[in-house]
């Protein structure tokens, strides 16, 4: 709740490196609360860093080959790591034993390219294998299953071996977990319903080539894709139909088929660099792209709220960038270099020396002081005292916690255009100002069906319902 005291006008997107963490990381991701950062290491282990102390606090040792992806459950209790060793491991950070033991192992028969938790239940995971197949694994007792996501292809009977599906190259849940978006090697985006695993839409993206990555703005209406043509495309997603509750995957479902026209294309017109990663700011007003520039560490930032105008290019030095992730609530970025360092970017707020003197205020320009008529009048102390006492009659509220004093206008997840460094308190029930217009209109009842399905058999990852034990690191203390 410090944002109410920090000057709201200085904050925007991150502009400068605050710290480097020498983590030996291949990539690093913030947790959804923004307290930790998980770093995948070259040797197959993962490290969790505490951003407040800027020190590693947990070492997750389980994979024997390179980690390919990391995902956090929604309240940061569970961590998922996928690896080229064909395994997906799930770790429970609430466990008290150190080093932490794996909580669950999901094995596959090919290297795992990426895996992620369902946004509403960490017992449902989406897995993409190096063979180009994507699976939804449900480990809940009532729903235990492993379903492959298959593109619906109208079989015209010419092909004897059945339809040939193009390999899937990227797969993600949308922020609500209602649909799964997959990108294919032939430049298509396929949309599947999570509950029924039925394909509900197919979009051909012309000129994109192989899809390399996707990221959603938090509200879920906007999607940015990265593809082999070195262009980031932003799409406004249509409203997708929901298969009925009793729908069966074998029955034909009329899916949406059509091209999706990007609202914006972002590329580097001069160097034509490819992109390693891209990420929306938490309020969706900025888009950051990490350039695959072999000679430098460049992050491009576009101002989405300003029609996608290019805002700035951040230079992180000589070590090339390999990964990029925006902090879930603040105006901060974590970019990983190919040497394994994690750069934490922030938006520095200038020191306000006026704050050191009580009753002073800093002004940008000289102001002619207008003396009040009664400024030097000597008032009767008794009158003054009585007035003060009267003013003190007003009731104060000392224990209702609101999400920051500016909460009514902003919500808990703003990165910066209008007020920055927001800290989520409580459950952030104030909806963020939505750039995409009304998202949920008319979709309530269908969303509920999906949500209710996902929330069956909750995973125990409750906000504030677990805590990570502080482990006293007596060995590290020797160095200081």
């Amino acid at each position: 709740m410090n944002e109410s005291l920090i000057n709201p006008f200085t904050l925007s997107h991150p502009t400068a490196v605050q710290t480097s963490l020498y983590a030996g990381a291949t990539f690093a991701r913030f947790d959804p609360a923004g307290r930790f950062i998980a770093a995948a290491r070259v040797n197959g282990s993962a490290e969790i860093w505490d951003l407040e102390t800027r020190a590693p606090i947990r070492w997750l040792d389980g994979h024997v080959k390179t980690i390919t992806s990391i995902d956090w459950s929604r309240n940061s209790r569970y961590l998922l790591t996928s690896s080229k060793d064909w395994n997906v491991l799930i770790w429970d950070l609430a466990a008290v034993c150190d080093p932490p033991q794996r909580y669950a192992t999901v094995r596959f028969d090919a290297p795992v390219v990426s895996a992620s938790f369902h946004p509403k239940n960490s017992q449902i995971i989406l897995v993409l294998l190096a063979t180009g197949e994507a699976y939804v694994c449900d480990t809940r007792k009532q729903h235990r299953s492993r379903v492959e996501l298959l593109e619906t292809i109208i079989d015209d009977g010419e092909d004897e071996e059945g339809p040939i599906r193009s390999p899937i190259t990227t797969a993600r849940f949308d922020p609500a977990g209602k649909n799964i978006f997959v990108g294919t090697a032939t430049g298509c985006i396929l949309v599947f319903n999570t509950r029924t695993k039925i394909m509900i839409a197919r979009h051909k993206i012309s000129g994109a080539g192989t899809m390399k990555g996707m990221d959603f703005a938090k509200a879920g209406r906007r999607l940015v894709t990265n593809s082999s043509d070195r262009t980031l495309r932003q799409f406004l997603l249509p409203k997708y139909p929901t298969p009925p509750a009793d729908a069966d995957a074998s029955a034909p479902f009329v899916f949406l088929d059509g091209e999706l026209e990007p609202t914006h294309r972002f590329s580097d017109p001069i160097n034509r660099t490819a992109w390693h990663a891209m990420c929306y700011s938490p309020d969706g007003e900025w888009l950051a792209g990490g350039a695959a520039d072999p000679a430098g560490h460049k992050i491009y930032i576009w101002d989405i709220s300003n029609d996608g105008q290019f805002a700035s290019a951040l230079d992180g030095g000589r070590e090339p960038l390999v990964y990029l992730h925006w902090h879930p609530t603040r105006s901060a970025l974590a970019s990983t270099t190919n040497q394994g360092s994690i750069l934490i970017w922030h938006c520095p707020s200038p020191e306000r020396w006026g704050a050191f003197a009580g009753g002073f205020e800093e002004v940008d320009e000289n102001v002619e002081y207008a003396e009040r008529e009664d400024e030097f009048d000597i008032e009767d102390e008794a009158v003054l005292f009585a007035r003060k006492m009267r003013a003190e009659e007003e009731a104060v509220d000392i224990d209702t916690i609101v999400a920051g004093t500016l909460a009514p206008e902003g919500g808990g997840a703003r990165s910066g255009n209008r007020g920055g460094a927001a800290t989520p308190v409580g459950d952030g029930s104030v909806p963020p100002v939505d750039l995409d217009g009304k998202f949920s209109t008319g979709g309530e009842e269908t969303t509920d069906l999906e949500t209710a399905w996902a929330e069956e058999e909750p995973d125990g990852d409750v906000r504030g319902g677990w805590r990570m034990k502080i482990i006293m690191d007596n060995e590290a203390a020797e160095f200081y």
């Binding site: 709740m1 410090n2 109410s4 005291l5 920090i6 307290r35 505490d50 407040e52 102390t53 800027r54 020190a55 606090i57 707020s349 020191e351 306000r352 704050a355 050191f356 003197a357 009580g358 009753g359 003060k388 003013a391 003190e392 007003e394 009731a395 104060v396 509220d397 000392i398 224990d399 209702t400 916690i401 609101v402 004093t405 800290t423 308190v425 805590r467 034990k469 502080i470 482990i471 006293m472 690191d473 007596n474 590290a476 203390a477 200081y480």
Partner: protein
């Protein structure tokens, strides 16, 4: 092993529905239920564990004593400091206690092992006050070297040293979400800091500039409660830099006496006093509602139970007892 904890860190659920006005009308009726003796020198600090099961006390006799929070039975004595202890604080999970001592160190004690696990060295003079952040991965401390220090507890390493004041720092603590730090000092200033950057965000100062002996955030962190050595306790709205409530009637000219919020029953302010009494004010009307008599010396330390209506108080040389007062 641990008894159930209340949902919020500061208030039980049943209090939420109670409107502000009706809370003001209830009167406290605290009665002495237990007298705990064992300390051999002045008691400087007492505090309930976050689950309310234990009470920790410490003082000039260099030891920390652990008591049962309800019955007052002695549970353990922790020895290790070489000089007197000025302040103790519980980690929010109740697993550790931090103690600030005149031997210039802060020690972290494990409640599981009932022993010292870490010594934080860095202060160049007496350490006077210490507190955990809500995640309990950071510690903030202040002392006679006029600095405020933020520590990484797991590694026992100082993260920040803030040249915060121009006199000994008498109190320092985090707000409920750990983003702000408030400190006060004998220079009479109350300062609010950004915990992450260490920047000073605000300075609160009263016209007369009395020595400020204790400060803490209200449970929702929208106000700070400050005790000054002109026998006054003030509730400040730090956004507007205005004093919104003044509580007087007790006597405080010499020692650093903390004040506490009570939110478990009505909404009260509680403070010890140098006239050997404990004063309870109504938060809103600022009237003294009850005066607890019994100690035989100045009441320097006071603590309120996290969810039950219990006040613990402790006194100086001539008395050396801890008293538990119940209103239930």
């Amino acid at each position: 092993m641990e008894p159930p904890r209340p949902a919020g860190p500061h208030k039980p659920a049943q209090d939420n529905e109670k409107p502000l006005a009706s809370a003001s009308t209830s009167t406290p009726n605290y009665e002495l239920r237990a007298i705990l003796s064992g300390h051999k020198a002045s008691i400087a600090s007492i505090t309930f564990s976050p689950d309310g099961a234990m009470l920790a006390s410490a003082g000039s006799d260099k030891v920390i004593k652990l008591w049962d929070g309800i019955t007052g039975e002695i549970l353990d004595t922790l020895e290790g400091h070489t000089e007197g202890i000025s302040d103790i604080a519980w980690a929010s999970d109740g697993e550790y206690i931090a103690s600030a001592s005149d031997d210039k160190t802060i020690k972290i004690w494990s409640m599981e092992e009932r022993s010292e696990v870490k010594t934080l060295i860095g202060h160049t003079n007496f350490v006077f006050c210490v507190n955990y952040n809500p995640n309990s991965n950071l510690l903030v401390s202040g002392g006679f070297d006029e600095t405020v220090r933020i520590w990484d507890i797991a590694r026992g390493k100082p993260l920040k040293v803030l040249p915060a004041h121009s006199d000994p720092v008498t109190a320092v603590s985090f707000n409920h979400d750990g983003t702000l730090v408030v400190s006060c000092a004998m220079d009479g200033l109350i300062r609010i800091w950004d915990a992450e950057s260490g920047q000073c965000l605000k300075t609160l100062v009263d016209d007369d500039n009395p020595i400020c002996s204790h400060v803490k955030f209200s449970p929702n962190s929208r106000f700070v409660l400050a005790s000054t050595q002109d026998s006054t306790i003030r509730l400040w709205n730090y956004q507007t830099s205005k004093c919104v409530k003044t509580y007087t009637g007790h006597s405080n000219r010499t020692y650093c006496i903390p004040a506490c919020f009570v939110t478990s029953k009505g909404k009260y302010i509680v403070s010890g006093s140098e006239d050997n009494k404990i004063y309870i004010w109504d938060l809103q009307t600022r009237q003294v509602l009850q005066v607890l008599d019994g100690h035989r010396d100045a009441v320097l330390a006071i603590a309120t139970h996290p969810f039950r209506n219990i006040i613990a108080s402790a006194s100086m040389e001539k008395d050396l007892t801890i008293r538990l007062w119940f209103d239930e």
